[in-house]
Symmetry: C2
Subunit: 404 residues, 2 copies
Amino acid sequence: MSANGSVGLVQPQRLTFAENEPFQLDSGASLGPVTVAYETYGQLNADRTNAILITHALSGSAHAAGYHQPDEAKAGWWDDCIGPGKAFDTNKFFIICSNVLAGCYGSTGPSDPDPATGKPYGMHFPVVTIGDMVRAQVRLIDHLGIDSLLCVAGGSMGGMQALEWAAHYPYRLKAAIPIATTAHHSPMLIALSEVGRQAIYADPAWNNGDYYDAGLKPDAGLAVARMVGHITYLSEESMQQKFGRRLQDQVRYGYEFRSEFQVESYLKYKGHNFTRRFDANSYLYVTKAMDYFDMSAETGSVAAAFANSADLRYLVLSFTSDWLYPSYHSKELVSALTAAGADVTYLDVQSSWGHDAFLLEVETMTKLLSGFLERLVQSEQVALPAGFSPAASPKEQSKTEAAA
Amino acid sequence: MSANGSVGLVQPQRLTFAENEPFQLDSGASLGPVTVAYETYGQLNADRTNAILITHALSGSAHAAGYHQPDEAKAGWWDDCIGPGKAFDTNKFFIICSNVLAGCYGSTGPSDPDPATGKPYGMHFPVVTIGDMVRAQVRLIDHLGIDSLLCVAGGSMGGMQALEWAAHYPYRLKAAIPIATTAHHSPMLIALSEVGRQAIYADPAWNNGDYYDAGLKPDAGLAVARMVGHITYLSEESMQQKFGRRLQDQVRYGYEFRSEFQVESYLKYKGHNFTRRFDANSYLYVTKAMDYFDMSAETGSVAAAFANSADLRYLVLSFTSDWLYPSYHSKELVSALTAAGADVTYLDVQSSWGHDAFLLEVETMTKLLSGFLERLVQSEQVALPAGFSPAASPKEQSKTEAAA
């Protein structure tokens, strides 16, 4: 256990399947072979009952915690919540995180070679759904020899995956933690997705998705898409706090079009940075998967979708200033889960950070997640992994962290 | 007077000034000659006290009411509120509306020829402010021989102009009606402006603003900018009501990237349509003017900016679901005006239509505006224009319209 609460160096891993029999997709198309990039933190206990699957959001990856290199500046995307003594306590739990299908961080996606041609799929990659992403995760869990996950947890698109797991594989998990999410992507979310896609299509370098062997990528379009995204992840209040009307590197208006306000510089930096780490075609496919997400589509109602999942426990979290996935979406979800007869804990967390709160409200999240998981450990009688020292009990450790 | 409450056919007009002595801008640059495109509806009374200036929003024009051609399908942009018996009753008032400086509907802007080169200004057009736009309107009012306007009224960027009039020309108007606006453009608004501008810059056809003589215009970039705008003009609730998750021309998911959801088709249509009527460089300049808008910049506080404008009457309106110009901006404005000692009427109108409510909540707006203007007419003892028949009194007419 690291002194700083980090899982330390982690090793990216890959599972490849559907090499002979192709993987069936919701669209009717099939895909194969399929690679799923994943990471694990902590140890699986003897009876394999302490595994938690963390599901990532639009631009995330399997790298949820720790470092790939000793000198890496930035830890995994949810490092604040995953590690020894943290909310997802790696002293107690075996944490798994995998990159989604159609992603660009190691799992099969549009930038990978199409076996039929040997060239990158590009827009020949089949459209995938949140259901397809989850089905690939099921294959990973099978591969790891885990019959039942203790829990699936994620924010935003990660929350959709948690809901999909609960609705379609209720016998493969004990609990679900959907955070800052919705049971059906709203027209506002679809509209924002489509604007991002249109910005990519509008970039001539996109070239109908066929740019991998060209000198140019659709960076300008992808940057605009990401800028739109970044605005929606913040709140009006957090932007006031973070930037106000402050100017960048000047004291008076310059009356020209270079970036002048700090918020403009921030957005441009974020947009540009994103193009160095994300694939434009993946952006198209992953946003499309989110747009299709609608838990009521098959059954006619969200409650009916969870009819066979009432034995699970749910922790639902939303944030008061999140206008992208407004709290009322979570409240509707809670009503539906309750109507289905499930045991639901819900909190609308007071926060000014907008949608990004699920990554930023670490102290509150740690308390809520730790408490929920602690009760789950007790009710499910989950054994600690071998090698864990009772001297630094997880509970004490958690308290120390929270106080730090 | 038309039976249907329309002002009928209207004649676009133009005023050109600063032909010899250039027009000074806030930036320190100057411009000349300057043309202001405008329209008027109704008649000026004998003592020239019944004039109301209507100020338009980002994409508006001087064409606020009536028709340019007998067979025109669409009336001016605020035709619902301007006409005989309507909120801005042309039986009583002489209504003026002019296109803003840097616009593309007849007033001098980046698409006009630069006298220095004979070629379109493009990005050589000087950056203008809301203050500059208002100063051009003052020249128009001078030209029309009007010492004092009864009122300046507008929504969104139009509201900024109304505030600028009140703060800087308090002796030239009796009242201001800022609707769905703010006393300082917020970082969220600046961020959304900048994303729109980045979408235009990213379009190779923009060519640093030099595209007027080329075959191509930056339509793709401008369309993306407009799509972002359209999302922000609606509310989550109005999008749910208007589109939900309904598909366009199909009953099942197509699992492809053509537009599938109605909201996607709507956005694409709106974005494309905009490119046929608006100039991309004007979009850059007008959004930049909005970003600079900050009533507290000169004086240190909004209240101080209105210190000499306390004798005016104000009607401030906001809309509960407007997240672009949230109600609390109007409430802050009302506090500042009240602190300055002004007579302020404020209403946060219950509406699900988001920012667009100022164009859509016609019935409520008509009641509020008519009531406010009626009191103003009485307190200022405004005479009706000559030729007005008392048989169809404006009050009766207004009632008939509201009931229709």
